[in-house]
Subunit: 212 residues, 2 copies
């Protein structure tokens, strides 16, 4: 049916353009030109520009969160209810990093869009984002089960830092590439995941920390 084709074309084009250039710079006219559909189609199918963004954000965040939780579940089952801390971090940052830096272009657009959404925070997204905290609390809970002797505050900071490293790597891989003059291999996604997981684990289980 032509209706589905138009709707899908709009979603894909919007996701790609938003991922590349951000919400503010991309107009509905840009989107319909890229999707090769009529200007009025966006409002017909989605109601408004904001609702289009919200629809993209909701559907993509469901997919990412499901992947994360699947990996977490697998890790917890493998450990009899207590996952290894490295497996928890891998479940947290792996899906997003694989989506963003991997070879699959469509998934790459999706993940970059999500990073963009987490930064620019258009009104419709701001409301939805509060749910993400509940999602992350499940990882905090898994970390607590994995390392029951650790201070909760350290676990929260560890989770925060792991996400920070993953997101910054996706967002500003260009700067790292220039700084290292190409020597940091940004195509080696698994290597990057291992680095981030390794640092995150060390941050929690490593030796003495600096004192105030």
């Amino acid at each position: 049916m032509a209706a589905d084709h138009t709707r899908t074309a709009i979603l894909l084009a919007a996701e790609r353009l938003y991922a590349e250039r951000g919400f503010a710079d991309v107009t509905m006219r840009d989107i319909v030109a890229a999707a090769d559909v009529n200007l009025a189609a966006v409002n017909y199918h989605f109601g408004s520009k904001d609702e289009l963004i919200a629809e993209l954000f909701v559907s993509r965040s469901l997919v990412t969160n499901r992947e994360r939780l699947n990996e977490l579940k697998t890790a917890e089952e493998a450990g009899g209810g207590r996952a290894r801390i490295d497996a928890i971090f891998a479940a947290l940052v792996g899906p997003t990093l694989r989506g963003c830096l991997g070879p699959d272009k469509q998934r790459s657009d999706a993940a970059r869009f999500m990073i963009r959404a987490s930064i620019e925070s258009v009104p419709p997204i701001r409301k939805i984002k509060n749910r993400e905290v509940d999602h992350l609390k499940r990882f905090a809970a898994a970390m607590r089960r994995s390392l029951p002797d650790h201070d909760d505050v350290d676990l929260f900071w560890g989770l925060h830092f792991a996400l920070a490293m993953a997101h910054q790597t996706i967002r500003d891989s260009e700067r790292l590439n220039k700084l290292s003059e190409g020597r940091c291999d940004l195509n080696d996604v698994q290597g990057i995941i291992n680095r981030i997981v390794g640092v995150s684990v060390l941050a929690l289980t490593g030796r003495a920390k600096a004192r105030a």
Copy 2:
């Protein structure tokens, strides 16, 4: 002189509004209303909106970079040309974090503006940003002197991750606050710097890393 007052009022208001709401959402009308000056004054003093943003970015990045290099220089002199690696990381992330999370409101606006600028990358800033890589290379060089036996690639990743943790903490302190239900103290700036420096040092000097 009234001219200086108007000019300064525009700069301060623009910085605060951009820091709070981003470049796209803040119009020149918002700025002149906050600065209590006339709409035409912005174009008279700065030429255009983009030039206003560029002027803010250039002047602020000079200040931050000078602070960073001063701290780095002090650390290198204290070590007879080879700074301690923790002191290098502290020089890298300290000035920005103190500016953003500390009590001084004007500095806070400045630092938040810089974070915003590093993300949203309006055209005039994109050109200037390339210079930042040269600035960071001086830190990479200091790291190499500090840890001459380490692989350069690991040092680049270490620098990248340190900046990632600092920026994400500034940008999305709200999420960490919600996630931890207020238990992560975001007012303890020195404690946060110590955490980030500690993790960054461990990432380079800690025990075995995860393998691919």
